[in-house]
Amino acid sequence: MIDVVYFAWVRERIGVPKETLDTTAQTVAQLIEELKAREERYALAFADISALRVAVDQELSTFDAPLAGVREVAFFPPMTGG
């Protein structure tokens, strides 16, 4: 089981801020493919992954990052702090 959290427009498109998923995905990219195949709202949110960033266990990461031992994956648009 893995916690997946969403922020900003990604959260709005998917419709929930957080969910716990049962997945067989080995990497972040595989998790995205699994989600896209699941429902239209995921396909829309993940249509262009160049517009997305990912954090793995609260650290900025990449789409090829492995998921073994990971507790939380977060998807969001590029950050706009400051």
């Binding site: 922020f7 427009w9 977060a74 969001f76 648009p77 950050m79 706009t80 702090g81 400051g82």
Partner: protein
């Protein structure tokens, strides 16, 4: 080194005054305060969302780099989230070093990194509706100089 992520407003003058009392023997204190801008008079308010579990640690990591690279004696980052109106203070950075060049550089470094690497997202609300603020290429480019 200190980080505060809060929804409450803060007073930059009071923060500077408290911060300076903690520092002795410093030659330079640089502060920057970010203010909610209203480009064309249409902004009603802004909503800042953040990733609570990541925000503090991400800012601390950025601050740790700044402290060691510019040999800072102290540093402070305050960043707000929640609802803000035009003219409100969004965030503040303060850096302390023996000489001003280091304090200025460290403050600019912190600002550049907070823009693109601290997990905040801004949504603007105007009479015409709401929209998420898009990250700018120039903000990402700004990181290259460091």
């Amino acid at each position: 080194m200190s980080v505060r992520v809060q929804s409450d407003p803060f007073d930059p003058g009071q923060e500077l005054s408290q911060f300076s009392q903690l520092v002795t023997g410093a030659g330079a204190i640089v502060t920057f305060t970010g203010v909610v801008r209203d480009e064309d008079g249409s902004l009603d308010h802004m909503l800042i969302e953040h990733y609570p579990a990541m925000t503090g640690p991400a800012i601390e990591a950025i601050e740790t780099q700044a402290v060691s690279r510019w040999d800072l004696q102290a540093s402070l980052v305050i960043h707000r989230y929640g609802t803000l109106a035009p003219g409100d203070h969004i965030m503040m950075v303060a850096t302390v070093s023996r000489h001003r060049a280091n304090a200025f550089s460290a403050a600019e470094f912190l600002m550049d990194y907070l823009k693109s690497r601290a997990p905040f997202w801004k949504k603007e609300f105007t009479a015409d509706g709401a929209s998420w603020v898009a990250a700018k290429d120039k903000d990402e480019d700004a990181l290259k100089r460091w």
